[in-house]
Amino acid sequence: MTISIAIDVGLALLVLAVAAWIIAVRDAFAAVVGFVAYGLLLALVWVRLAAVDVALTEAAIGSGVTGGLLLAAAARLRSSEAPAANERPGATLRVLTALLCAGISLGLAVAVLSLPDPAPTLAPMAAANLPATGLGNGVTAVLLAYRAFDTLLEKVVLLLSLIGVWSLAPDRAWGGRPGPRRVVRPDGALVFLTQLLPPVGIVVAIYIFWAGADEPGGAFPGGTILAAMWILSMLAGLVEVPAISRRSLRVVLVLGAALFFAVGLAGFFVADAFLAYPMGYAKPLILVIEAALVLSIAAILGMLVAGPPERTEER
């Protein structure tokens, strides 16, 4: 067994152990902490799978942003845990479910192992068409050129989920700011961290977005890191959460999808199809769209974590 196989096996066993612990542990808060660790381990797995773009996005979203969201929720829900525990299904149901899930895992494992060799792949086709897009990173090309429609629809999905979250506000608080009033403790550790990290994080996010055209990175990892920095600042109380009725917020939220739509519709006339790029202008257009996407993704993810409005704007 070579070293790399040993590392992989060790990593896989570790991830499995943490996942089993997340399912089995009694306390919800502990489970969420375990989930953050699991996210970081998964990012390592993605690196081992030679998918660095995914690793960056998983680290930022999977453990960072999702972790923050779930930790806040677990803290607020602490008092509800004991009653819920009384509804645990009986032992027979648990055993049956376990058997069913084991069966599904087994079937899935058989399917994964019986995938054809050599594996059918679109990598050669993707590589062959890269020059037409002017990009060097295959994943960015897939996201913003070959399968741009998926990315466009996904931006609409994000916006709709934000509207859904906002719709859960009480009527009187509509238009106001999400979340409780934060008390800023100037000497606190969180504030110190927030004064240190975001400037670095913002630079890293911008670099990752810019480099994503030719290296691993792109709008999604960049946008999520930017979101994480903003969320940190909001949690520490250094930045006030914007009120949801503010026009400037709405414009930033919509900017990415709107620009994407505009370029796509222009493609009807200057190129030969919706979402097609005119010859030679593909890379600059893609970078412009990605820039707008970075801002929008950061804004949407940040507002998703902030939640529905709870208090009216103070003047």
């Binding site: 079937g107 899935l108 058989v110 399917a111 994964v112 019986s114 995938l115 054809p116 594996a119 059918p120 792949t121 679109l122 086709m125 993707a126 068409n129 050129a145 070959y146 399968r147 741009a148 429609f149 998926d150 629809l153 996904e154 609409v156 999905v157 916006l159 709709l160 989920s161 509207i163 859904g164 906002w166 719709s167 859960l168 506000a169 009480p170 009527d171 509509w174 238009g175 009725s245 026009r247 709405r250 414009v251 939220l253 919509v254 999808a257 709107a258 739509f261 796509g264 519709l265 493609g267 009807f268 190129a271 030969d272 199809a273 919706f274 979402l275 097609a276 790029y277």
Partner: protein
């Protein structure tokens, strides 16, 4: 090697999705009462696009295709509208038009506010559901369809909880968890299919897929996930509280259209992406679950005390009829005459149920508004105060029962004759029982509506005749389908892939 090319009027397919989606962006940015205006302005535009697509498909006698970005599958993604998509697009736009116009009364932004919660949410979510449904009906790539499914879920779930009442919050959360489970199982199946064939384009998959373990596991996972989203028995638990708790216009859209989106994908999967791969046992299993849904749902509907819950359980039952498509319209050897009849019957059932159920939910909403509650036992005589609503409810009910003339009758007739011809007479028995049970719960309500008012009826609010007319219009659509000939329909056959072509005799 299949080479696709964008057909001349293919851009209409893009517009069908882009218009509602762009409407969401505009509504969110401009905010306030502009959301309502934008949606109302888009209603005729979107309907015109849908009708244009249907006319083009009929005229060309072939499917419309659009290559997005100019990239060919398997690298790129394309949209495709066959006869089936066209029918679904038109049905969707008509029901959404009715729901939008109906919702004007309930979701008007108050004069003294720039923006209010429920109106902004309702109009943008309605546009979202519309865009999602169009994306589902036009998509030709399994992952693109996954994104469309997620868009549909995120549009539908908040609509359930729009009123803010605690029981609707519970119903919405349960709905969301079921829907997410369904999506993730579907996604798992697409991962396996991509791993096995290197593409997610439906036509390319149909050419490459073979009966092997990977295909079985993938198909099983995807079907299980989509069944959870379609609320087929026994995964129907989430539907009644969710559809009953939503506001009336939203319930209409949820029962008529949203559950049909995932059903549409099950058909796309088995008839188009993996034709001829379904074992007879699986087809019979789906049919059995459908039969159980009909019987179970109808009996539970009979026992409901609240009108909206009765209608929701009726949805659970009527969805069961759709699953007779699998044992009857599918088979290793195509070319049997009953298969085309079953195909047509199944889709007419879907469309007429959409209209009828939407009409019933809107009528029930008006009744609830007028009296302040929807307890069936206390609705005696309301039909005299709201005759148009009662009529709409009655006509919708006739379609559910399968009484001529109605779309429901044509659908069930075709399915019945197909079942008998195919030698699978047990489905015919279930359909007859289902019709009787439907008659039971429909006449139970109608009896109350037109019964003697025993004096306990107090109208709390006046209901506009225009909104009653909307419910009636939808019911008349269901009725008008009853004038279709009792034969396989040519429009539904346009653009069927060659391997899955059903003979139209």
């Amino acid at each position: 090697m299949i080479a696709h090319a964008t057909t001349a009027s293919g851009f209409l397919l893009v517009l069908a999705i882009v218009f509602p989606a762009a409407g969401i962006l505009l509504a969110l940015t401009l905010g306030g009462r502009h959301a309502e205006r934008i949606t109302l302005a888009l209603l005729p535009v979107g309907t015109a696009v849908a009708i244009a697509i249907a006319c083009e498909v009929w005229r060309a006698g072939d499917a419309l295709v659009y290559l997005l970005g100019g990239w060919q599958p398997p690298l790129g993604v394309m949209l495709r509208a066959d006869g089936l998509s066209a029918v679904m697009l038109v049905t969707t736009s008509l029901v959404i038009c009715a729901a939008g116009l109906f919702g004007r009364a309930g979701f008007r932004t108050p004069e003294n506010l720039h923006e209010a919660r429920a109106p902004l949410a309702f109009w943008t979510l309605l546009l979202g559901v519309w865009a999602a449904l169009n994306a589902v009906f036009l998509g030709h790539d399994l992952f693109n369809l996954y994104v469309g499914l997620e868009l549909l879920t995120f549009g539908a779930v908040p609509l359930v909880a729009l009123s803010g009442r605690p029981e609707t919050l519970t119903a919405a959360l349960r709905y969301l968890l079921f829907a997410l489970l369904g999506s993730v199982l579907y996604l798992l199946g697409t991962a396996l299919l991509y791993g096995a064939h290197g593409t997610l384009d439906i036509a390319l998959l149909a050419a490459r897929v073979r009966p092997e373990p990977v295909a079985w596991v993938a198909a099983a996972l995807m079907t299980a996930g989509l069944l959870a989203k379609t609320a087929l028995f026994p995964l129907h638990l989430w539907l009644p509280p969710a559809h009953a708790g939503a506001p009336a216009a939203a319930s209409a859209v949820l029962s008529a259209l949203v559950v049909k989106g995932s059903f549409f994908l099950i058909v796309r999967l088995w008839f188009d992406a993996m034709p001829g791969l379904m074992p007879q046992a699986a087809a019979q299993l789906l049919g059995t679950l459908g039969a159980a849904a009909i019987l179970f749902g109808s009996v539970l509907a009979l026992r409901q005390a609240r009108l909206k819950l009765l209608i929701a359980y009726s949805t659970v039952a009527q969805i069961g009829y759709l699953f007779f498509l699998f044992p009857l319209a599918m088979g290793p050897d195509l070319g049997h005459s009953w298969q085309a009849a079953a195909w047509t019957g199944g889709w007419i059932q879907l469309v007429s149920h959409a209209f009828a159920k939407a009409a019933m939910f809107l009528a029930a909403g008006l009744i609830a508004e007028a009296v302040g509650h929807d307890r069936i036992a206390e609705l005696a005589g309301i039909g005299r105060a709201l005759p148009i609503s009662a009529l709409a409810f009655g006509l919708g009910g006739l379609s559910l029962m399968g009484v001529p003339p109605s779309g429901g009758f044509v659908a069930k007739w075709l399915l019945l004759t197909a079942a008998v011809e195919a030698g699978q007479w047990w489905w015919a028995l279930v359909m007859l029982a289902g019709g009787l049970l439907a008659g039971g719960y429909v006449f139970r309500v109608l009896g109350q509506l037109w019964g003697d008012a025993n004096g306990s009826l107090a109208l709390r609010a006046r209901v506009s005749r225009r909104r009653e007319a909307l419910a009636l219009a939808l019911a008349l659509c269901a009725l008008s389908l009853g004038f279709l000939p009792l034969q396989p329909n040519a429009l539904l056959q346009i653009g069927r892939p060659h391997a899955a072509e059903l003979v139209v005799r």
